[in-house]
């Protein structure tokens, strides 16, 4: 599907740990799973109302989100790897396990 209309879902990518940019230097490759795609169909009347109130300045100086987000609903427990200084690290909830519009 054209990128803009791909529905929210789980994708996966083989990346080296270093590429994650978390500060760990390791050549180990892991499977990074993330959520991407559009949630247009998941909007509710709440979103419409909130957007209108924001436009009419009835809601101001607040961090609000008037559209559903494509986000993980569950995460993978943990993944471990050996870094370049031969020390092990374990990272929890790095990859998504399930996605949805919230």
């Amino acid at each position: 599907a054209r990128v803009r209309h791909q529905p929210c879902g789980l994708r996966e990518l083989e990346v080296s740990v270093s590429e994650l940019g978390l500060g760990y230097v390791s050549d180990e490759t892991i499977l990074f799973r993330y959520c991407s795609g559009t949630c247009e169909a998941a909007a509710r009347i709440y979103d419409l109302g909130l957007r209108r109130l924001r436009q009419r300045r009835r809601v101001r100086k607040e961090k609000i989100r008037a559209r559903p987000c494509c986000r993980p609903l569950a995460y993978e427990e943990e993944v471990s790897f050996l870094d370049s200084r031969n020390r092990y690290h374990t990272v929890s909830e790095l990859s998504a396990k399930e996605c949805g519009c919230v």
Binding site: E14, T29, I30, V79, F81, N86, Y88
Partner: protein, 423 residues
């Protein structure tokens, strides 16, 4: 290699073993057997075993049991009631051998699979090998970690033991070794050896790779300790636990160097040796690489022969079964190079093409010239599993690593190590 791979004529009227749990059930169902088994257990539990074993009733019980399936029963690695099976096995065999034997019979059924089976499975499952052009230079242990990380089951169980073994408990206790050992045992029991062997026995060309290989079992928690116990004391500690005792016996049965075979392995089965070596990880006798020297493979349990008193010779012999064991070293190198030995009695004559270096057999004095040793050369018909061209996509042409083995037969003896003879 197990009896099942033998031809009919060679079975010698032998009775294929049942597992000891089943044998125990069969015996319990048969009054004569169950009463004798009870008697024998009382005989063996008595204070002075020798006098007990000398009395008529105990002798009669022993004779009956020697004909029952209990006597030859074995267990399978990773079987459901493995511990119960082993307890039954040792309840009989421990009693019959007084005192400590140096080598004990393995309670496990002989391993019939071979390294070539693992290479075949590895090429089907992993599917994520390095690109052949790259792989000659690549870090095989790093590729092994990648293959594991990309397999859900392997990744989960690998992370489970790493996080357990890496978790600091207190200022005085580096980690919870008991939990770490349990997690390691689960990893090696539940993850197929196509993944675990690649991480444990990957071949290395540089120090970084060899250090990664050494770190596979998180030695700082699972292996090292403040002090090194005496190896015979460590053996006693191991033999006090049925599982550890069984894994050690299995290691000796499958890795004990023998000068009467081609590969120096008792039944010329590298997989059997590697499997029993991996089977000791997670027990008191956990072995590991002693350093990160890529070229010389030296593994050892965490012990020394200091404080052996008059048992230093026996202690050093025990330690050498790890540190200077050509069978174990050949097996690890064979896996690392993706080679296996294919020796079948039907066609003993093979012809050599290109001999790589083969480790000398164990007890030959150093000055032995080659004329009398087993001149064996092994050729690889393809590259090692790490060097196999396993593309990501589905179409994988199966490149098997099979090896022709040439053997200069010793004059005067058709001493072709028949794969099925157990030394």
């Amino acid at each position: 290699a197990s009896p099942s791979s033998l031809q009919g004529s060679e079975l010698h009227g032998w009775r294929p073993p049942v597992d000891c749990v089943r044998a125990n059930e069969l015996c319990a169902a048969e009054s004569n057997c169950s009463s004798r088994y009870r008697t024998l257990r009382q005989c063996l539990a008595g204070r002075d075993r020798n006098t007990m074993l000398a009395n008529k009733e105990c002798q009669a019980a022993l004779e009956v049991l020697q004909e029952s399936p209990l006597y030859d029963c074995r267990c399978k690695r990773g079987m459901k009631k493995e511990l119960q099976c082993l307890q039954i096995y040792w309840s009989i065999h421990l009693g019959l051998t007084e005192g400590e034997e140096f080598y004990e019979a393995s309670p496990y059924e002989p391993i019939t699979s071979r390294l070539s089976d693992i290479f075949r499975l590895a090429s089907i499952f992993s599917g994520t090998g390095a690109d052949p052009a790259m792989s000659v230079k690549s870090n095989h242990c790093l590729d092994a970690a990648k293959a594991c990380n990309l397999n859900e089951n392997c990744k989960r169980l690998r992370s489970a033991y790493i996080s357990t073994c890496n978790r600091e408990v207190s200022n005085f206790e580096r980690c919870n070794r008991r939990k770490c050992h349990k997690a390691l045992r689960q990893f090696f029991d539940r993850v197929p050896s196509e993944y675990t062997y690649r991480m444990l026995f990957c071949s290395c060309r540089d120090q970084a790779c060899a250090e990664r290989r050494r770190q596979t079992i998180l030695p700082i928690c699972s292996y090292e300790d403040k002090e090194k116990p005496n190896c015979l004391e460590l053996r006693n500690m191991c033999r006090a636990d049925h599982l550890c005792r069984s894994r050690l016996a299995d290691f000796h049965a499958n890795c004990r160097a023998s000068y009467q075979t081609m590969t120096s392995c008792p039944s010329d089965n590298y997989q059997a040796c590697l499997g029993s070596y991996a089977g000791m990880i997670g027990f008191d006798m956990t072995p590991n690489y002693v350093d990160s020297n890529p070229t010389s493979i030296v593994v050892s349990p965490w012990c020394s022969c200091r404080g052996s008193g008059n048992m230093e010779e026996e202690c050093e012999k025990f330690l050498k079964d790890f540190t200077e064991n050509p069978c174990l070293r050949n097996a690890i190198q064979a896996f690392g190079n993706g080679t296996d030995v294919n020796v079948s009695p039907k066609n003993p004559l093979f012809h050599a093409t290109q001999p790589p270096r083969m480790e000398k057999t164990p007890s030959l004095p150093d000055d032995l010239n080659d004329s009398t040793s087993l001149g064996t050369s092994v050729i690889t018909t393809c590259t090692s599993i790490q060097e196999q061209g396993l593309k990501l996509n589905k179409s994988k042409e199966l490149s098997m690593c099979f090896t022709e083995l040439t053997t200069n037969i010793i004059p005067g003896s058709n001493f072709v190590g028949s794969p099925d003879s157990v030394d």
